[in-house]
Point group: C2
């Protein structure tokens, strides 16, 4: 019994996660309402740090979808929802700073924009 409990606890305290597990994970409000889903993670090549996650939201059947960057630290996984929990309105998401370079696949570090992004979400800068 002790080992079963141990194994259960272990499942709840995973320290590592695979990138392909994060991609496609839903983002919900606490109410259970879906906001969007994680498309990919953007990594700083040199440091090997997550710069931000890219979430798609809005749209219907892939049409009219928007992309938004989210600081890694705002993504809190909620096991009951089986999703990342984020309590922001659509207006708040739309108001978040958009990168002028607009690179959501590969790109250059734009520290000024990243600073505004992390400020907006009151997230600690990763750099």
């Amino acid at each position: 019994m002790a080992t079963m409990t141990g194994s259960h606890e272990q499942r709840e305290t995973h320290d590592l996660i695979g990138s392909d597990k994060v991609e496609g994970t839903n983002v919900y409000r606490s109410s259970g309402e879906k906001i969007g889903e994680i498309e990919r993670i953007m990594l700083e090549k040199r440091s090997g740090k997550v710069a931000y996650a890219v979430m798609t939201f809005g749209g219907f059947l892939g049409i009219g979808e928007e992309y938004r960057a989210l600081p890694w630290s705002v993504l809190r996984y909620n096991e009951d929802l089986d999703a990342y929990e984020l309590n922001l309105t659509d207006e708040q998401l739309r108001g978040a700073p958009v990168s002028e370079t607009g690179f959501y696949e590969t790109g250059r570090i734009d520290r000024d924009w990243e600073r505004r992004l992390h400020d907006y979400y009151r997230a600690t800068p990763y750099w």
Copy 2:
């Protein structure tokens, strides 16, 4: 002309990369011989740092494939090869420390194993 050159240079100096671009990228020796491909990246949830990359190698048509963890810093992208360049023999790869917990999707941090892994590849620990 200047802007075209600039845009070309920019392409070569991307600082960020999407996780889904890394997944599936081939790993070659300098000779052009394929070693394997990157399956996923393992991330530390709290710090948002890449712990290691998981490479599949060996096998044929998905049968008999093996998994090996590679420190992020050993993956050097070579544009001419359009692949990560890694000059290790199959024997060297097979001899690399295998995680006892064997978690290559999600798992706990095993610092002792990670230390041996980074020592093996003479890579600077990320933590």
